[in-house]
Symmetry: C2
């Protein structure tokens, strides 16, 4: 069995796994994200222990960000300007490559989760799709024309500006950089700030959810009108409130108001906006898929 | 000299040209868009006249929309649900191909203008960039990962939802489908509706322009955060008010508020948000480039 390593480097926790697919996982570990040194050392120890017994072909890393994905930049593979204390300008890719001596693939946490869904989940075979995660922040990534979205940097859809009716929702927004951007209005901290309760504590019939669905639908509508994805796959902690999906779909149809006359949206919205099939494992499995790509790229 | 035909099929006028590049134009014609039959016949007559004298290798068409770009759809190459009277469900590609007997490339007007800028203009050599046109409507297109943006349909960024402060700007928006979407707030009809004067009649120091720059910057900021383009090229009638560029750039920097730490944006915004180099000819020249691609695809 070929063994690839995957690292889901999240702002709250790291998940590391070794294997070659959803049904072929050999070992997995997760631990809290503390200081860069401690956290990265813990990940390296996990892989090194495996290397003493068996061969690890490559590692893929999906990291919280912003990250530098420009291969010719001196800080390629670094976490750059993150608001997370202690993590500004943290080298990730280089440290892992030097420590383990294997090829390392590197991308954003969201792009890597998108790759997981494209390889084994809800987006198999699609040329152009978006993956949106709604949790402590809002991130978007995906594949366009068959390749992960990069461009100048990488998507940061959580910071889009959306209509915000202060009469309806006087909450000022939770984003430290933009106030009431998409993430500032609709990620976990906004729910907590607006209602005084976390997503887990809000009952499914609480009015919080219809407002949440409204903002999510605004964000998805803008995404649909920009990328024209063939499907939108949604993950992240907030989307565990699964009643959101039906509300979001209905709101998106209302916002588009029939403008895009495509059956995929008009008649099959239930298959157009869908939950991540790999659930919490899109990230770590996608990182494993990225490791496989890193090996393929060497050939 | 190899001769390719280009058709810029606009909602107001059609421009047709024959040649092989900006400096190699043999002949060009433009006429008002009236009924589908009359307008398409006029375009066909132009190309047929040429075919009686010389060989035309292929034709490219950039059309107003929405259009059907799905090659396996029965209405591939049609204008579909356009609000333009008389033009709903108009076959374009098939009619031109049958009448002229040459390969025909077909895409949105905006993608085709983007292709023109990518081939001979302000976006040469870029893997991922966006083209935005602001005129009677707002359209966006571009190239992502080296190929024109398609996905499920094609981008329709003019219908994005943006923040709209009714205290600051009580105008309700001009879009017949969405009211105060991006286009409803910032395209030509919105300027006319809000100020009672057309873009040409508004002096460069009229307050209309700073509000216009504000909305354009909101739209571009969302585009940057979604696509992460390496450059944004802007064309269309409204952008002839060139003082807009500096205001838009400044507003975009303010809206991003330092979140994207990339020198291309932070230090070189003047080269990041730029006017179309081919000006009014991005469309017809891009259509010619699309014709060349249509021939290349046959090989």
């Amino acid at each position: 069995m070929s063994a690839y390593g995957g690292v889901e480097a999240g702002g709250t926790k790291f998940v590391c796994a070794i294997g070659s697919g959803p049904d072929k996982l050999e070992t997995e570990i997760s631990f809290a994200t503390t200081t860069p040194r401690e956290t990265i050392d813990q990940a390296l120890a996990f892989f090194r222990e495996y290397q003493q017994r068996k061969e690890l072909l490559a590692v893929g890393v999906g990291s919280f960000g912003p990250v530098d994905l420009n291969p010719v930049s001196p800080t390629f593979g670094y976490i750059t300007t993150t608001p997370k204390p202690g993590w500004v300008n943290t080298e990730l890719l280089g440290r892992i490559r030097r420590a383990l001596g294997v090829p390392v693939g590197f991308d954003t946490d969201v792009n890597v989760a998108a790759l997981g869904e494209a390889t084994w989940g809800a987006a198999k075979g699609l040329e152009t799709f978006a993956y949106v995660t709604v949790g402590t922040g809002i991130g978007g990534g995906g594949i366009v024309n068959g390749r992960l979205m990069h461009g100048l940097l990488h998507p940061e859809i959580g910071h889009m500006r959306l209509p915000h009716d202060f009469d309806d929702d006087p909450y000022r927004g939770a984003c430290s950089v933009h106030g009431d951007c998409f993430e500032g209005l609709a990620a976990g901290p906004a729910l907590l700030g607006r209602w005084g309760r976390s997503a887990e504590e809000l009952a499914p019939d609480h009015p919080a959810w219809s407002l949440e669905a409204h903002y999510l639908a605004l964000g998805l509508t803008n995404l649909i009108l920009t990328l024209s994805p063939q499907r939108i796959v949604m993950g992240g902690g907030i989307m565990k409130q699964t009643t959101l999906f039906q509300m979001v779909r209905r709101n998106v149809l209302q916002l588009l108001n029939g403008y895009l006359q495509v059956p995929t949206i008009l008649e099959q919205i239930d298959q157009y906006i869908v939950p991540a099939e790999l659930g919490d494992r899109s990230g770590v499995l996608g990182a494993m898929a990225l490791a496989q790509k890193a090996v393929a790229n060497l050939r």
